[in-house]
Symmetry: C2
Subunit: 174 residues, 2 copies
């Protein structure tokens, strides 16, 4: 398991299963999220893949963790803490069975990304600006609009669990 320590986990309590308006190649949203002032980065859907995940339980979704160029370089170099300029995105889709796989496998066992779930999340590294939250600004957008302050406040406490990996939960998937 000699791979890079890496972070980002869903703010579980607020990830309500709703199809999101955030789709396509990603877009810049004019509205900044409260507390950290983060905006949706333009073109984030085109970013390279850091890792994939599945949340079981009530969340029951499939996820992709994407990173901008600074993030990808850092995870590949196994560099901690993440340098300023790192942005990590967490996208989630509902967990749906792939009907055609039944024909191929003889049983239902393949689950794929369905409609986008509400709540795209970002972590933005700026060690000075966000010094009081481990150098990270956090934001969640629901249907393209920033979630309220109460939601944003849940991010950092949850990510404390990955403090040893600079608050990033996910590892780089080689």
């Amino acid at each position: 398991m000699g791979r890079i320590a890496f972070l980002l986990l869903a703010v579980a309590a607020v990830s309500i299963i709703v199809v999101s308006a955030d789709r396509g190649a990603g877009h810049t949203d004019e509205q900044a999220a409260p507390i950290f002032g983060v905006k949706i980065p333009s073109g984030y859907r085109d970013w390279r893949l850091i890792s994939v995940a599945h949340e079981e339980g009530n969340l029951n979704d499939l996820r992709a963790i994407l990173g901008n160029d600074v993030a990808i370089k850092a995870v590949r170099e196994r560099k901690l803490p993440f340098p300023d300029g790192t942005i990590i995105a967490r996208l989630a889709w509902s967990y749906v069975p792939l009907e055609e796989s039944k024909k191929a496998f003889g049983r239902l066992q393949s689950f794929v990304a369905g409609p986008r779930k509400n709540g795209v999340q970002f972590m933005v590294k700026d060690s000075r600006k966000y010094a009081s939250t481990g150098g990270w600004g956090f934001a969640q957008f629901d249907h393209g609009k920033p979630a309220d302050e109460k939601v944003q406040n849940t991010c950092f406490p949850c990510h404390q669990a990955a403090k040893a990996r600079d608050f990033v939960f996910n590892h780089y998937a080689p």
Copy 2:
């Protein structure tokens, strides 16, 4: 579910759980796979994300479907059949619990990509060259080396289940 029909599924029977030697940003392998003559495309790990998947049952892995620029353009334009030059990659990782999420959620529910599983797979569209297999060349590489002919022969029969989507199982994850 107004999204693009898209393909690619694991050749289940041959996806043995072994950590693969294929890692990092992807590399060009000099050896072409039997039957279709496909080589590992250089830099495929940097390709953009089409979708994510989880295979339950014996496979029990997490997957990413990546596409080259031609593939990404086609899936976003919902264009079928896929144009010549399309290449789709299927990567899989073992399905491992994220221990830190227990701290965050109070229970184990987050599963993430562990070590790369053996068997990276590619579909290459060339409607003339591969006319007898729906216009697709298929290949699997184990530890960076092409799997044998018997393995490559299992691809097309399995993908017949997704014939209506030009033999591609996966949809684009918006």
